[in-house]
């Protein structure tokens, strides 16, 4: 009801504004309904369909109901929308026709006329019906009639313009229904009115905008019009739409400014170009800054006023829309934009005024945002606000510099005047912030009031900005603000505070390789360090700057001179050394050794030439250049031999050092390249490949921890090594660019010398290259004397004198007169010396090696020691003899093993003729030499008196050629029963056939052996008789084979074995005979083998008769008859045989053993092959065993006998076999 009294001045607080609806008619009635109405109206949203294809919206309607007055209706041309009555309602309670006719109708007509006069078509008539009233007046007409009348009278075609509201104050369903219908009607009407009126308004507005090119057009007027629209949208809570209006205005204005810049100026714009006189910042705390609005309305606003107002409106709407971060972002754009626009429009601005405005505005925006967000929200959106913070910091800084608040002395009078002017431009503080302690206005005023206050505020802001940047990971920005802060501290003469920030920033730039910022920051740092008196750091920074190509020549020289002047000044105080890294002073390019293989012997001269590339802009005199050398005695002796060294060194002797790409050494890329090598590991025995792989040789370089602080700027990483071995070069002047420096040294101790550090001394300043990489080393060697003993021939033979060569490699040892080699030899080897002993000294030109040869005759006796290897058919047996030699250069004896080969191989065999026995010895010459054998003897070392050995040999000496054999035979005779075994020793003297006369007797060659079971026990005689009645055997006809086995002796020692059985002092032994014909000449018919019990008595004979059939004709040898001892099964014996031995014996068969018999001469061997297994099919069962009789015990009397076989007569094919 409380309508605004007048549209002017419009106190507009849009939030409180609601669309105006006028009420005419019965005011009392409306008053009674109003509470319900105002409460019910916004309850339900209504869809608002929009023109121009804009999306429909659901809106909650509210209204401001005012009493109808004619003045409220807008006159023609009045564009005010806020005060525009969107709907007119006439309220009546009339139920009486009389009353209607008398008063209401007239009133309505009057109302309608007024509306018509103002061409307002948005109206509604509400008839309220009340049951209570009806009851009082019984004579009333049916209620519809009044409504009908009204409809008839006023709503000629729009009957819906008259609405009935029944019993509005009662609580009944009918009332509810009627209310709903009414409210819907009301909302619909309102929206229709909005659509119509706003559409019309927008059309008018557009028309106005199209006229902007006309001369009289005023932006401010248009601004007010469009803002009206914005207000209405805001009133309808359509903030988005409202914001669009302001954004359009913003864009329009910006476009004008841009066009103005391009020379297309609008007249109205010149007004905005008036000099800036007030710079009191944005005001965001009021929804509408009426002051500024009025200025715009009166066309007196400056650019800043307009922008401020526009932004404050945008800010308000954005905050309604819950988009505070957009406010921050837009604020930054606005501030930057305004500064640009003022520049573009060439508006005169007092110096510092804009800084003040920006500073205030930044803080105002920040405070406004803080006011509507909680802490957590702000913290998580620092990214949006940090720009404003740093902008404010920047502006405060420039204000400080402008007003002399940063200088040491404080502001002078001129500065003070400027401060006063700036403060004047701020005007008085706004009432809305007057009570706020931290208001931007107060802050600025305070900051400008004194040096201290400025510092406090500036530091606060800077720290806040740095902290925020850091917290969101904008380290570079943080460093940048930090650098400003450092600059500030430097101005305030507190370099210790500045240093941290400069170091921090520099580290960052170095890490990312930004050359210009590095140089600039270093320059600042140098100044800072100079003030701080950090001599070492300052000199280091200076050296870096002096070598920096981004600086001018003069600047570089300046820093170079700083170093030199320091160096010359400090010479009087010795001991104090300043250690600086070399790389910024000079760079080591390459290094060259002479001799080029970097190997010298003790006492030799080595020169090292290095190329140093001076980075200084002017010549620098260096007192001394030194290379520290690490000396190590190589463990591996072989490595020191001249041979190895010359083989393994790179030949050209030049080592190039990687040049640090001077401008941008990016640490990430600075890692050394992988040095990979193939690796093969072979097994020592057979050289087969065990493992293979790839080895990275510089793992220590690659895998070391990345230093978090690059040691470039800190000298602590450089340690000066003090070594005993130093290469020096004094008094060098390093010109800019490449310089060659040569070091000379005389090699002293043998070993490996590794170049470690390079150090250039300028006064007390040491420029040190802490590590030379790749590692460089040179070797000094000194060779140990060596002795080698070699035979002159291919190999040494035992038993004869031969020559051996002694080679002495003297190495570092100098042979003195009277030096001798003492040989201590084993007894078995004799050293034969010539009467005159000669030693020839050969000298090697390359290495001081002296070879001496002494002729020594060596011989060895080979008896007994040699191992007669069974398998070696043609290989000579060998024997080793050690010679221990005492050399004059060593306290230890050198032991040398000489290997002698035995030239002979000796075998023996036992031969029988019935009971007579012969021993045959075969000497085989395996060597390449011819020998003469003499005095062949065979003796029984036990000197058995009953035995005699009768030689049957040719006269000695006998000649034995290379690879040939000589046989010796003795008959063995005995008188009594011979022993089961006999030891024999064969000896023969040997001498080389061409050796000539020898001065000393040589020891004879001996061979010992043993003959066992040589006594013949059985005589086996076989005879083949042709069938009776025929003279000769014929092929295919059976002949009889008679075998007679005769015992030749009585019971002997050798018979006492398992086969022997005794009964009544009568002994017998079991034998098995077998007839085998290996040449398949005979077919044995019937049983070819059998077991016989042989009485152990002399001349006991057993005869066996068998049938055989010759298969061929001719003289056929008789089939073999073999005898075995038949050993009974012995339980104890068989149980000892485990499975393995059975398996082992599986391969053996009776036949096999019999085959071996003819050539098995050695008695000793016969015993070894004593046991025979029965056939494989008997395995596991207790079976009798067979044992072959030793060859000496059986004499086959019919060996070599042949029988004539005549071919069968009726055969057409004659087969003759001749053997």
């Amino acid at each position: 009801m409380d309508a605004p009294e007048a549209p002017l001045p419009p106190v507009i607080y849009t939030m409180e504004n609601k669309p105006i609806v006028t009420c005419a008619g019965d005011q009392n009635l409306f008053t009674s309904i109003y509470p319900t109405l105002s409460q019910q109206l916004p309850r339900e949203p209504m869809e608002w369909r929009r023109s121009y294809g804009r999306a429909p919206k659901m809106i909650h309607l509210e209204s401001n109901f005012v009493q109808f007055k004619e003045e409220l209706l807008p006159k023609d041309g009045n564009k005010a929308l806020l005060t525009f009555p969107f709907l007119h309602i006439y309220w009546t309670e009339c139920c009486d026709t009389e009353v209607y006719k008398a008063t209401v109708k007239d009133d309505l007509t009057k109302w309608q006329n007024v509306l018509k006069a103002h061409s307002s078509v948005d109206w509604l008539i509400v008839v309220v019906e009340n049951d209570a009233k009806k009851k009082n007046k019984t004579n009333i007409l049916p209620r519809t009639s009044i409504v009908d009348k009204i409809r008839n009278d006023f709503c000629n075609k729009q009957s819906d313009r008259c609405v009935v509201l029944s019993d509005p104050l009662k609580d009944s369903s009918r009332t509810q229904e009627s209310w709903n219908a009414f409210l819907t009607k009301l909302r619909t009407s309102l929206l229709m009115s909005f659509t119509k009126n706003l559409g019309k308004f927008e059309d008018d507005m557009r028309t106005l905008r199209e006229k902007r090119t006309e001369p009289g057009w005023s932006f401010c007027d248009y601004f007010m019009v469009q803002e009206e629209l914005a207000f209405v949208f805001e009133m309808l809570q359509q903030f988005e739409d409202a914001l669009v209006q302001y954004d359009e205005l913003d864009a329009l204005f910006s476009q004008y400014v841009v066009n103005f810049g391009a020379g297309d100026g609008a007249n109205w714009l010149t007004f905005f170009c008036q000099p800036v006189k007030s710079w009191n910042g944005l005001i965001l705390r009021k929804p509408i800054d009426m002051e500024k609005r009025e200025l715009i309305q009166r066309q007196e606003a400056t650019l800043l006023d307009l922008r401020s107002y526009l932004f404050s409106r945008q800010c308000t709407l954005l905050l309604f829309l819950q988009r505070p971060w957009e406010v921050a972002q837009r604020a930054l754009e606005l501030l930057h934009g305004c500064v640009q626009e003022l520049k573009l429009l060439e508006v005169s601005v007092p110096p510092g005024a804009l800084d003040c405005w920006v500073f205030l505005s930044c803080l105002e925006v920040l405070q406004r945002i803080e006011g509507c967000c909680d802490r957590a929200q702000i913290d998580s959106n620092i990214a949006h606000t940090v720009g404003l913070w740093s902008y404010a910091t920047e502006k405060l800084k420039s204000l400080g510099y402008l007003c002399g608040l940063v200088s040491e002395k404080g502001p002078n009078s001129e500065d003070l005047n400027r401060i006063v002017d700036l403060l004047a431009g701020l005007g008085a503080e706004r009432p809305e912030t007057a009570n706020t302690a931290q208001s931007p206005y107060k802050k600025l005023k305070e900051a400008l009031s004194s040096v201290e206050a400025f510092e406090k505020h500036y530091l606060d802001l800077s720290h806040a900005a740095i902290e925020m940047h850091t917290s969101i990971g904008r380290l570079r920005s943080a460093k940048f603000v930090g650098k400003d802060l450092a600059e500030f501290y430097m101005r305030k003469k507190s370099p210790q505070k500045a240093e941290v920030y400069l170091q921090g920033a520099l580290k960052n730039y170095l890490a990312e390789g930004w050359a210009l910022p590095i140089t600039h920051t270093r320059k600042q740092l140098a100044e800072c360090q100079k003030h701080l008196g950090q001599t070492e750091n300052y000199l280091q920074t200076s050296s870096l700057l002096a070598s920096d190509h981004h600086l001018t020549e003069d600047e570089r020289k300046h820093f170079c001179r700083e170093i030199l002047s320091f160096a010359s000044r400090q010479t009087d105080s010795p001991g104090q050394k300043i250690v600086l890294p070399l790389h910024c002073f000079a760079q080591l390019r390459d290094l060259h050794f002479t001799p080029s293989n970097a190997v010298v012997h003790v006492g030799g001269v080595l020169s090292v030439e290095i190329t140093l590339c001076s980075q200084m802009p002017m010549p620098v005199h260096v007192e001394q250049v030194a290379i520290n050398v690490h000396f190590s005695i190589e463990k591996n002796n072989y490595r020191k031999t001249a041979e190895w060294l010359t083989k393994h060194k790179t030949s050209n002797g030049t080592i190039n050092f990687p040049t640090e790409t001077s401008p941008l050494p990016v640490p990430q890329n600075n890692l050394p390249a992988l040095e990979l090598y193939e690796m093969f590991e072979r097994s020592p025995s057979d050289n087969s490949l065990n493992t293979t792989g790839i080895i990275c040789k510089n793992v220590h370089m690659l895998l070391r921890r990345q230093e978090s602080s690059t040691s470039l700027e800190t000298s602590s990483g450089v340690a000066l090594e003090d070594g005993a071995h130093v290469l020096k070069c004094s008094g060098v002047t390093l010109e800019p660019g490449a310089n060659r420096i040569t070091f000379r040294t005389q090699a002293r101790e043998p070993g490996t010398y590794t170049l470690r550090q390079l150090c250039a001394s300028v006064g007390p300043v040491r420029f040190v290259l802490p590590h030379l990489y790749p590692p460089v080393q040179y070797d000094v060697y000194s060779q140990e004397p060596q002795l080698r003993v070699e035979p002159l021939a291919d190999s040494l033979l035992a038993g004869i004198p031969q020559k051996v060569k002694f080679t002495v490699t003297t190495g570092h040892y100098t042979v003195k007169n009277g030096d001798s080699l003492q040989l201590s030899n084993a007894e078995a080897m004799l050293i034969l010396c010539h009467a005159e002993n000669r030693a020839v000294i050969y000298s090697n030109t390359r290495a001081p090696v002296t070879g001496g040869e002494s002729s020594v005759l060596g011989m060895t006796e080979s008896h007994g020691k040699h191992k007669d290897t069974q398998k070696a058919g043609q290989c000579m047996a060998t024997t080793d003899h050690k010679v221990s030699i005492d050399c004059p250069w060593s306290i230890y004896s050198t032991v040398i093993a000489l290997t002698f080969s035995v030239p002979f191989r000796t075998t023996h065999s036992l031969l029988s003729a019935g009971t007579r026995k012969y021993i045959q010895v075969c000497v085989q010459n395996l060597s390449e030499l011819d020998f003469e054998l003499s005095d062949g003897h065979l003796v029984d070392p036990d000197s058995n008196a009953d035995l005699r050995l009768v030689p049957l040999n040719a006269k000695s000496p006998q000649h034995i050629h290379s690879k040939q054999s000589v046989f010796f035979v003795w008959e063995l005779k005995w008188t009594r029963e011979p022993p089961p075994s006999l030891r024999c020793r064969f000896s023969v003297g040997s001498s080389p056939a061409s050796g000539g006369r020898l001065s000393i007797p040589l020891k004879p060659y001996t061979y010992e052996f043993r003959v066992e079971n040589f006594f013949t026990l059985y005589n086996v005689r076989a005879e083949i008789l042709p069938p009776s009645g025929t003279e000769h055997c014929r092929t295919g006809s059976l002949c009889s084979l008679e075998v007679s086995i005769t015992r030749l002796s009585d019971l002997l020692e050798v018979d006492k074995d398992e086969a022997l059985t005794e009964s009544d002092e009568y002994f017998s032994t079991k034998l098995m005979y077998e007839v085998v014909d290996n040449s398949s000449n005979w077919a044995v018919c019937g049983k070819s083998s059998g077991v016989i019990s042989m009485p152990v008595a002399a001349r006991a004979t057993h005869r066996v008769h068998m049938e055989v059939m010759p298969l061929f004709a001719g003289y056929l040898p008789l089939p073999d008859v073999r005898l075995f001892k038949y050993l009974p099964h012995h339980s104890a014996h068989s149980s000892q045989l485990d499975a393995d031995s059975w398996i082992e014996s599986d391969g053996l068969s009776v036949d096999k053993h019999v085959d071996e018999q003819p050539d098995g001469g050695g008695g000793g061997r016969c015993r070894g092959s004593a046991h025979l297994a029965s056939g494989g099919e008997h395995r596991g069962l207790p079976m009798p065993r067979l044992q072959a009789l030793p060859p000496g015990q059986v004499f086959n009397a019919s060996v070599g006998t042949q029988v004539l076989v005549i071919p069968s007569k009726d055969d057409h094919v004659l087969e003759v076999s001749v053997t």
């Binding site: 841009v258 810049g261 930054l332 754009e333 501030l335 930057h336 500064v339 640009q340 520049k343 573009l344 990214a383 720009g387 940047h469 969101i472 990971g473 904008r474 380290l475 570079r476 920005s477 940048f480 730039y509 990312e512 390789g513 930004w514 050359a515 210009l516 910022p517 600039h520 941008l664 990016v666 990430q668 890329n669």
Partner: protein, 139 residues
């Protein structure tokens, strides 16, 4: 058009940086370096969302009073940064985009040069002239 053009390696060291008013080179170096903060931020924000869309243009990195800094990142994380004078309002997003595209093409040519070692400073004359053409258009 542009007052400063920079190509920055994946490891954030400059491969190429040139600014039109040479007397103020240092300022641009600082500016470009600082802008890497925002580039990093945008790349990491984009990391998940835009990786498939292949949007290389990062837009306005941050405005300063006098300059606008725009960014662009290649698939191999090489960054292009362009600084434009704020007063040059004629430059719209689209122009900036096309300038970046041109720059990218030229950069690709540099990379295709078998004698160019990736990671080295760009010294190509062709690339230089492309940059020059972008800078000259301003006056």
């Amino acid at each position: 058009m542009a007052v400063c053009v920079a190509v920055i390696a994946k490891e954030n060291y400059p491969l190429y940086i040139r600014s039109a008013p040479t007397e103020n080179e240092l300022k641009f170096h600082y500016m470009v370096h600082t802008s890497l903060d925002v580039v990093d931020e945008k790349i990491s924000a984009m990391g998940k969302a835009l990786v498939d869309q292949r949007e290389l243009y990062l837009g306005l990195l941050y405005p300063t009073e006098d300059y606008k800094v725009y960014g662009y990142v290649t698939n191999s994380k090489v960054k292009f940064v362009m600084v434009v004078d704020s007063s040059n309002t004629a430059l719209r997003d689209n122009e900036i985009r096309s300038m970046f595209r041109k720059l990218h093409n030229s950069y690709t040519d540099v990379m295709c040069n078998p004698f160019y070692n990736p990671g080295d400073r760009i010294q190509s004359r062709a690339f230089d002239s492309t940059v020059t053409s972008m800078m000259i258009q301003v006056c």
